[in-house]
């Protein structure tokens, strides 16, 4: 079982034609429906639906409050290694970029964890580049073991693995997996990943399901918005999330909506995703998948993050450094530039001022039995 045949089928579909053919009247009919089908979802992503943004936003706000309440789960990334064998054209960690490379010692990982825990956060996302020989499964297991006493929830965003390796990391204390397909277009994918293990489109596409099969509680997916037409990418990503929900009903499927940000390289986005586009993307997604967790990262500006908050967001990063060891010592070159540099305390103050409760802990690890 794989999402690959579905992704390839969608590639052959004339989605752009269908998007262009959608009228405001079509969108109004969709907005009158309680259950949003795949075709309805496509209509909500159309240019015509852009004229109905307020109606989408209103319904997205209601659905989000009903299912998640006025709460926002907070986490921060912890970069432990920026060694990478890939040559992704859009990424600051690409092997071709001449940036200082480092990998934290386990003592340094502990120091980073302590610095993050001192801000009050209890959920972290552990990140590496793709260099399994340098920062592989045994290293990640060691990282998780020193971080577990500080954090009830540990997610990973590392290189794609086999199911048995995910099972090892779950045993060590990982509960969530993030993996971005970057683009669902195989031709563009090949162009953007000229060398390195990430070049294997199908292996990466099947990564979320290998994580689910291993027993991850949360599987977070996404496309890097800006690499190509965002409407098509968001549609296919949404269908991938729906496919995961259907086939792995016990897994909490989540999605991030990252837009391209400046980084250590000269890649220019092929498509500009405006604030208005991102609001349409998020609200359409919320209507299609009412229980989907949606993350907005510090790639976005503080003002935009504050305003988009009620429209579908359930998780936010805060107090972010995208550099290896950036929490406990002055930052080196990060993977990309962040836009919202507010501290955890500042983000919490903003949330409370807007009537939202920051949630620091949303899982109780079970290995400690009474």
């Amino acid at each position: 079982m794989s999402f690959l045949p579905e992704a390839l089928r969608l590639l052959r579909e004339p989605l752009e034609e269908r998007l262009r053919a959608t009228t405001e009247a079509d969108v109004s009919r969709v907005l009158g429906r309680e259950r949003i089908s795949e075709n309805d979802f496509l209509a909500l992503l159309s240019p015509a639906a852009g004229a109905c943004l307020e109606a989408l936003a209103s319904r997205a706000k209601d659905l989000t409050e009903r299912h998640f309440g006025r709460t926002i789960s907070l986490f921060t990334p912890l970069y432990v290694s920026n060694h990478c064998a890939n040559r992704c054209r859009y990424c600051g960690f690409a092997a071709t970029n001449t940036i200082p490379r480092s990998k934290l010692t386990i003592a340094e990982v502990r120091a980073e964890g302590e610095a993050i825990a001192a801000t009050g956060l209890r959920q972290i996302l552990l990140l590496t580049g793709e260099a399994p020989h340098t920062a592989g499964v045994p290293y990640l297991e060691d990282c998780v073991r020193v971080l577990r006493p500080l954090f009830p929830s540990i997610a990973i965003e590392v290189f794609p693995m086999e199911t048995k390796d995910y099972a090892r990391l779950i045993q060590a204390g990982v509960d969530s997996l993030t993996v971005f397909q970057e683009t669902y277009d195989p031709t563009l994918y090949a162009d953007l990943h000229p060398a390195g293990p990430k070049r294997n489109y199908a292996f990466r596409l099947d990564t979320p399901q290998r994580g689910a099969e291993a027993g991850m509680r949360v599987v977070n997916i996404g496309a890097l918005l800006g690499l190509t037409d965002w409407r098509r990418e968001l549609f296919v990503t949404g269908l991938h999330a729906a496919w995961l929900q259907k086939n792995y009903p016990g897994v909490d499927v989540a999605m991030s909506l990252p837009r391209m940000r400046p980084h250590a390289g000269d890649f220019e986005p092929a498509c500009v995703v405006s604030d208005r586009d991102l609001v349409q993307a998020m609200t359409a997604l919320r209507l299609f998948l009412p229980r989907l967790s949606i993350t907005i990262s510090t790639r976005e500006t503080s003002g935009f993050r504050d305003n988009i908050l009620p429209l579908g967001v359930t998780r936010m990063s805060a107090g972010v450094s995208t550099a290896v060891g950036g929490h406990a010592k002055p930052a080196e070159t990060g993977q990309f530039e962040i836009s919202d540099g507010r501290s955890v305390a500042e983000v919490c103050r903003m949330l409370r001022a807007k009537g939202y409760q920051p949630v620091f802990k949303d899982w109780e690890p079970l290995e400690v039995s009474a």
Binding site: E65, R66, H67, F68, G69, R70, T71, G120, R122, P152, R217, Q245, K246, P249, G250, V251, D252, V253, R291, R352, G355, Y356, Q357, V359, F360, K361, D362, W363, E364, L366, V368, S369, A370
Partner: protein, 263 residues
């Protein structure tokens, strides 16, 4: 109306039949005021959200002392996980009451009856007061009763939907057939729906989303407290019979009662 309509469960006597929750509030400091306004005496809390290491910012510190704490196993996907969460809750000082929630379907959040019965049996044996969240299915309810549940908690509609008593006929059967208290949990979105459940003879209602996400949680909590009490009073008062046909003032067979009208 019955003067002393106390509700006994797990060895505790309760005068309020509204249970409430701690989830989905924009600000946990509202919880004590909502409890006071609604009159609720039992409150459920998801152990997954409790961080005992953070004394200053912990949902538990907002729960009034007089409330009966009903920790729940939210996040559990199997009986084994629910049992471990329940044991952790007891070890953390949350008492012996436990609401079993075992959900392995994240689209509709429907409870798994088989796993719920397994967890109930284990935890009841260990001395917990077990209140299982369930689909309103008579066979599942009977297996939960056999497993030692202190009550059954059927859903009115999927969690968080505010869709009301969509399972009314099934809940009615549980009320008729079960000796255990039937506490309607999940889906109730308006005080009128809680009132309806109580009029049907439910022992209590658990309401969280409809209160926590209301524009005025205090006002909504108060309304739910009044609705549950009104529904209970109506049930105790014994509603009059419901007729399917009107009773005409000039009955068609009235002539039979007239002198010389009947042979």
């Amino acid at each position: 109306m019955k003067q002393n309509d106390t509700f006994h469960i797990g060895g505790k006597a309760l005068t309020s039949r509204l249970f409430t929750g701690t989830g989905k509030y924009g600000d946990d400091t509202l919880i004590p005021a909502v409890c006071a306004a609604s009159g609720a005496q039992v409150i459920t809390v998801a152990l997954r959200r409790v961080d005992l290491d953070k004394k200053a910012d912990n949902v538990m510190r907002h729960i009034p002392e007089h409330m009966v704490l009903l920790p729940n196993t939210s996040g559990a996907r199997t009986a084994d996980e629910a049992v471990r969460i329940a044991r952790l809750a007891r070890a953390m000082g949350c008492g012996d009451w436990i609401k079993i929630e075992i959900i392995a379907d994240n689209r509709y959040l429907l409870p798994d009856g088989y796993e719920t019965a397994k967890a109930t049996e284990i935890l009841a044996t260990e001395g917990f007061v077990v209140l299982p969240y369930m689909n309103p299915d008579l066979y599942v309810a009977r297996s939960l009763a056999s497993a030692g549940a202190a009550a059954v908690m059927p859903l009115g509609a999927p969690i968080g939907t505010n869709r009301g008593l969509r399972t009314e006929e099934m809940i009615r059967i549980l009320i008729e057939e079960m000796d255990l208290p039937v506490i309607v949990d999940a889906g109730i979105g308006a005080p009128s729906q809680a009132c309806q459940a109580m009029e049907m003879g439910a022992a209590a209602c658990l309401v969280n989303t409809a209160i926590a996400t209301a524009s005025d949680p205090l006002g909504m909590g108060r309304a739910f407290g009044q609705a549950v009490a009104a529904g209970r009073a109506a049930f105790l008062a014994g509603p009059g019979a419901v007729a399917t046909l009107a009773r005409p003032s000039s009955p068609l067979t009235g002539f039979l009662d007239e002198p010389g009208g009947a042979a």
